[in-house]
Symmetry: D2
Subunit: 162 residues, 4 copies
């Protein structure tokens, strides 16, 4: 089984710019994370964009949906900023059928030592391998269907909407 | 859904003894790993033993099997040394029915910086939530049934037996 | 020999706020750094302020100078943002005599994994123990006197002014 | 000022062998440590050996002494296992004159996350730049002359002999 991994940016991949003290994107850390994880999951990695999800537009979501539709793989993991992860999930659900799509991300950049990114990537790849077709969000070790998930921005965690 | 997490030791939880340069067990790192992961999975953690799995006896496996049988939870994750993980899986399979049991571990101690432990824990908790009853090994991002898994000791990875 | 360590903030002590993705100050990491370092240097730690050094005013520098003057110790290490470290050094030099004052900092926050902070703290404490009275900047493993140091902001390194 | 850095192994450079769970030497981490430290100290790095200092013989110490004597640099840092660091210091003292030699090491391998190595390297390079000719041990942020230092093996720290 092969899994398409689409990278879109988000906290997951942010880095610290030591010259000006800002946070920015350079390139994705997913390959080094999979190496560290000794992952043997058969994956195809594609960076679709490197964006803070607050800056994502429907044009960006169209690019993601298009990549999901075109993918030969029926299992897809999307790394995504947490702030609008639920919006992208809702955008994808009516458009991509017959594929298992797992959105995941991180609350702290992978490069910052105390990141949840590696844990989330492990759970997302697991869910992608065993869940039936549908669009899901995998965060905090849990998995939610696209129509029943929201980020609690005060607590910084994902929870069921209902 | 509540998951029982049984800790048995293994590389996962080994530490460096700076007084004599040896590797040893102090206490499990699973709680701090779940905190770092911002895990909201409902878990009950129990340390059954802290052993290098090469030193595990059938008496130890009996303790593990007993804990699995007594658990009120139907989903169980067992952290375990990698060297005999497949033996424990085979030991448990005929004894514990109607429960989803996921054995996982790490190739490098969690405390040593480049560990696969957090990734494996993320995938094990995910598999435990969605797979049907049975005994499984979750390593390298993949999942194997108890009767079709072996550690390739030359490569340090898990693979299907057949 | 006792060393007064005055903490003023700077990149050294910045943290990542996972709720809004900003960088901020919580409390200093110097105590945990000294523990990690197994430091047996006799130190007295005081947090004077927690500021980005770009936001430091002469009022802040007055507080630092005052703390240096009042200190019973003749060796002082000041953790400081890198952007105006040289300004504070020049401010202190004419005011505090007969004490060895070492300013140091970091290009990357200690909490972000790839920080130079622990190395700089090690060198600053060493210089504080052996250099004659004067005001110095210790960065990049090197030490500069207050009147001959500048930050090369393009390269993110400290160098002699002349 | 140029500093010769002689690498001899020790806990500093030990790694975890994930295939058999042992600790071993591959190659030194000093170059990556200096990069992480953004060090601009002018150094010449030479790996003389990669040994646990408990296994060091007088033949090994002869090699170290010879390298110190031959060095064009008058400032030298030696990374060394902590268990016999004081023996090597005593061996070198009568043989190498007119050079500042700083022995340092680590209680925990650099690769294991909670290492004192980076701090010690920072302090050793600082002491090497400013101390007068002599043989010293720099550990725990402190510096000791060769004739007044011993490792307290119960506490895992260095202290004055007298």
């Amino acid at each position: 089984m092969k899994i398409a991994v689409f990278i879109t940016g988000g906290t997951f991949d942010k880095e610290y710019n030591e010259l000006d003290g800002s946070l920015y994107f350079k390139k994705t850390h997913v390959p080094e994370m999979l190496t560290l994880a000794r992952s043997l999951v058969n994956t195809r990695l594609t960076t679709l964009m490197m964006k803070d999800s607050l800056l994502m537009t429907d044009k960006d979501r169209k690019i993601i949906a298009s990549a999901c539709k075109k993918a030969a793989e029926t299992a897809i993991v999307i790394t995504h900023g947490t702030d609008t992860m639920e919006h992208t999930a809702r955008y994808l659900a009516p458009q991509v059928k017959n594929k298992t799509i797992i959105l995941t991300g991180a609350m702290v950049p992978y490069k910052f030592g105390s990141s949840d990114g590696l844990f989330n990537l492990g759970s997302a790849l697991a869910y992608a391998q065993v869940l039936p077709a549908g669009v899901y969000v995998a965060m905090n070790g849990q998995v939610f269907t696209w129509d029943n998930v929201t980020k609690n921005k005060k607590k910084g965690v994902f929870q069921a909407r209902h």
